[in-house]
């Protein structure tokens, strides 16, 4: 029990760094979703089930979807612009 929490903290630091280092927004969306999942597991291990449930719904489903749709909106602007 006492070993799993430090490991989860290190994993969180790793996945957060990955979100920053992945420069391509299309790939970054999936890293953000994975980061949300890692945070969910960490919160659950920290005895915070309420927060874990919230992070699971928001961080690994709702927010990545918003990013995807924003990317799609930007990409759709490309051909029709200034025509």
């Amino acid at each position: 029990m006492s070993a799993i929490l430090p490991l989860l903290f290190l994993l969180t630091a790793l996945s957060g760094t990955a979100v920053v280092l992945v420069r391509d927004p299309t790939r970054q969306v999936f890293v953000i979703a994975v980061n949300g999942l890692v945070l969910t597991i960490l919160f659950d291990a920290l005895q915070a089930p309420d927060v874990a449930l919230s992070e699971l719904a928001v961080g690994s489903a709702a927010v990545p979807l918003l990013y995807l749709v924003a990317l799609m909106a930007v990409r759709n602007q490309l051909p029709g612009k200034e025509s």
């Binding site: 920053v20 420069r23 990013y67 200034e82």
Partner: protein, 139 residues
């Protein structure tokens, strides 16, 4: 080992905040920048929940355990809970602003943004000017 595990959560929070700031400073794409801001935000979750944790305590829900069992700090959890949900809507707001920036200037690169001019209704014309500057739209 004990010294490391005593400060590890706080160090991780500092690291996440610093990494997010580094991403914001070096980002060349506004959507990527919003993602880095999310990393900064997750640093606050880690810090608050790390402060509220106590070894051997249960979650602050007294359904299976009788009231009086040692539990972790519920105040921190309430803070983080609302933070996550309201933060998601703010992320949506930032993404919409990003889309608007792209529509106005034709680029997602913060380096290519120019101060807004006082003239009204000339956004389209400026966008096409920029196209002739030889700068490409990046995506």
């Amino acid at each position: 080992m004990s010294v490391v595990s005593n400060i590890l959560p706080y160090a991780v929070a500092v690291w996440l905040f610093g990494a997010g700031l580094y991403g914001i400073a070096t980002s060349r794409n506004l959507i990527h920048l919003v993602g880095c801001l999310g990393v900064c935000q997750s640093a606050t979750y880690v810090l608050l929940l790390g402060l509220g944790y106590r070894w051997g305590s249960i979650a602050p829900i007294f359904y299976d355990h009788p009231p009086g069992t040692p539990a972790v700090d519920p105040v921190m959890q309430a803070l983080v809970l609302t933070d996550i949900v309201v933060g998601a809507t703010l992320t949506a707001l930032l993404l919409v602003l990003t889309i608007q920036v792209y529509k106005r200037s034709g680029s997602l690169d913060p380096e290519k943004l120019r101060p807004m001019r006082a003239r009204q209704g000339s956004d389209r014309a400026e966008g096409s000017d920029r196209g002739h500057d030889g700068k490409r739209t990046v995506l």
